[in-house]
Symmetry: C2
DNA sequence: TCCTACTTTAGAATAATTCCAAAGCATTGA
DNA sequence: TCAATGCTTTGGAATTATTCTAAAGTAGGA
């Protein structure tokens, strides 16, 4: 049975991340990682779950997204003061952001390069470098 | 009288930006541009105004910050889903962001460089490129 | 199976920001 | 200079996204 096997793989991934493979986490992970990379918000994932017949509270969706982000399974992209996206692609890459429709588009990590970051303040370490190229209709 | 002259300069700046030099706008501009560049939030500017004896509503602070940003007098820096800063430095530069204390530190534009931005989606133009180097205590 | 600690949940609470309709001014032309 | 006109400001309510809370549920080990 395919579904069962995938579920077991997902459970292993969660355990590996130090998270118990609970029903909500398995369901959300299933929705998040079933297909190619994409960008989503807590709200859209919650809706998607509802549509898929999975009943999880919005609070759980937020908890799960943050836990997954902390575990390196997701990446959070802040583009706007009122909207924050989660990206299932945690590889090296950056984003275009269309201000008109709020869409995110990936920029491959091989393409883009940031050079010349100055010496860091004492005792600090770089966690990540986020580049957002903001676009608007010409 | 120095104050009066500066006020007139500020008024000219606002008119040039297509904004009527009203009392609230003159007062806030005075606070914003009186000293070297800095980073602030609507809340901190509102507090600063109160302390300076200027009575403006928070709504007006928000309006004014957005109008100034639209006019190119300020730049908005989004670092966090719940906090957005305004920067009085609209010149070419980027930022370090200390996740621990929520501080912003400038990175001079001469220092940092972003290369390899791919072809833009049809009909789109780059509005700006924002780089945030996220730091945490080592 | 039972225990314990980790999770989920619904709904309240928070925080930042925007909306609203009424009252207040800056500007312009007579 | 003065009034008419339309842009502005205001306080408070409304909105939105997110987090908190306390109680009920569940996974995993002994």
């Amino acid at each position: 049975m395919r579904g069962a096997q995938r579920q077991e793989e997902t459970a292993a991934m969660l355990r590996h991340a130090g998270l118990r493979p609970t029903r909500p986490r398995l369901a959300l992970a299933g929705l998040l990682f079933r297909k190619e990379h994409h960008h989503l918000t807590a709200e859209t994932l919650h809706d998607e779950a509802s549509r898929a017949g999975v009943k999880v509270s919005l609070a759980t969706v937020y908890n799960t997204l943050h836990q997954f982000t902390g575990a390196g399974l997701l990446r959070q992209v802040v583009v706007d003061a009122q909207r924050s996206y989660f990206d299932t692609n945690v590889g090296d890459h950056q984003h275009f952001f269309c201000e008109d429709d709020g869409t995110l588009i990936d920029i491959p990590g091989e393409a883009i390069a940031v050079a010349g970051i100055p010496a860091l303040p004492k005792g600090m370490a770089v966690e990540c470098v986020d580049v957002v190229v903001r676009l608007k209709r010409a």
